[in-house]
């Protein structure tokens, strides 16, 4: 998969958007998580180069920002697939048969939690409760929530992801 490491500069419009975000707060560093999310929404993950640029824009050191980036499970510091599948592993989904779904996903995609399919199509990650417990078991794919999952429904969702 292309990681873009050769050209991992922020685009001028990203720089402008990050400066705009920073204006919401008395201290620009308060915008750091939103800035990382903004970068990630375009590039799917945060490379060292872009992390360093975001840090410099917000008056932080790269290490400081990395300590924050690695704390959050929805900030990716390694390349991920075109679609990120977040399968809820919290208690309501577990009670409703989440383990069976995970088994199905493992077989279907040939990867476990933390893995990316060789074609770069899917990355599979666990997530905590998505607040979709009335439709457990649930998952989130590329920011879309899906509930009442069984293997058939899960396959249908995966098929819709190119």
């Amino acid at each position: 998969m292309s990681t873009g490491e050769g050209n991992d500069k922020l685009l001028p419009e990203e720089v402008a958007a990050i400066r705009e975000l920073a204006k919401r707060y008395p201290d620009p560093r308060a915008a750091c998580v939103e800035a990382l999310k903004l970068v990630q929404s375009r590039h799917r993950w945060i490379s060292d180069g872009r992390l360093g640029e975001v840090a410099a824009l917000l008056g932080m050191t790269a290490d400081e920002l990395d300590g924050i980036a690695t704390f959050y499970n929805l900030i990716f510091r390694r390349p991920v697939g075109r679609h990120v599948v977040l399968l809820c592993d919290s208690v309501s989904c577990w009670v409703m048969g989440q383990e069976r779904l995970l088994e199905h996903l493992r077989r279907r995609l040939g990867i476990g939690f933390g893995g990316t399919t060789p074609d770069g199509r899917f990355t599979l990650l666990p997530t905590v409760c998505l607040g979709f417990c009335d439709r457990a078991p649930a998952m989130m794919v590329d920011e879309e929530q899906h509930g009442d999952l069984d293997p058939q429904r899960l396959d249908a969702v995966l098929q819709s992801c190119r």
């Binding site: 707060y25 008395p26 309501s92």
Partner: protein, 426 residues
Amino acid sequence: MERPLTSNILPGEPPLDLAAYERAGGYAAVRKALKSLSPEEVAREVTESKLRGRGGAGFPTGKKWSFVPSVKAVPAPRYLVVNADEMEPGTFKDRLLLEGDPHQMIEAVIVSAYAISASAAYIFVRGEYRLASERLERAASEARERGYLGHDILGSGFDLDLHIHTSAGRYICGEETALLTALEGQRPIPRAKPPYPQASGLWGRPTVVNNVETLCNVPHIVNRGAQWFRDLGRGEDGGTKIYGASGRVSRPGAWELPMGTPLRELIEEHAGGMRPGFGLRAVLPGGASTGFLTAEHLDVPMDFGSVEKAGSRLGTGALIVLDDHVCPVGMLRNLEHFFAQESCGWCTPCRDGLPWTERLLAAIEAGDGREGDLEVLEAHTRFLGPGHTYCAHAPGAMAPLQSGLKCFRTDLERHIREKSCPYRSQ
């Protein structure tokens, strides 16, 4: 039955826009408060309503506000922060309020910020609630255009800036001091208290952090009065509560009902009872960090005092139902896995103790449990209990474990004795 919080929310329909919200009586509380009441009068009404925090701890809201120093003692700025980082497993009530009626949230922020003389407010929304944050942004920009936000609101001299902050995961961000640390753009670990946020919160300024559902009550209290609010409840706590249920019940969902509605009514009436073929084993009454209740507690009214008397906590009022087809040891292992993973790692008992409980429970579940394991687990419920850590994360994690060691004693002992999980070998 009155449902002030959810009366504008229609399943499957988009939320009311500003014009429709106003036609339904919206922003009347802003006009009433800013034009005819002083901040102290708004705060007094909330205190007299006996509104208690709906985020899980149940702290009286008026009292929380009362610890904010006067404007004379500590000049501006000061902040109101809305905790919309709803991540307590099993809980989905704030999502309903944010997606279903975002203008109610915005109005609640304006009136509450006025009461504590805050000039800026932040709504801290968990990253996964993208629809909620989009709808809040839209509602906030409509409110700004209409003059409900910004400079000199309705000619009252009161200014308020509102920002929607979207986060990126991690349960600990919902802990009120970790949330402030997160909002400042630092690694989100909780702070030692005191000082409390009201004295030194966001950027060291006086700050109040309130839960979504808590604040959404405020406009209604301002409009209808403290007495009306108190009378909504069935027991000693006033108001309504958004209860929820997940697990193998016939109709999982969330319902706004009088505070103090009994557990039995929630499960049997609103959730439609257990699914055919499944029996009720136990219930976590208010999210993952509350203790188990069992069938003998079904008549407990779901208010703060009554659930506490029954040995648990109302928490978020989100029932997680354990049925008789699922292994309770597996459920305990799943719960402690969650807490171990979500520990911020700052305090040793939490960082090292929680993974230990998870490993022991996993071993017992897998048939590798040993004599003495249950005693080690019991010791953890003491060493990780209140008073040993900066925040309530580890004590919260111990609530289901401590009660589970009692409720599921026979199951735990059987796993150890028979060296297998009876639920898996079925």
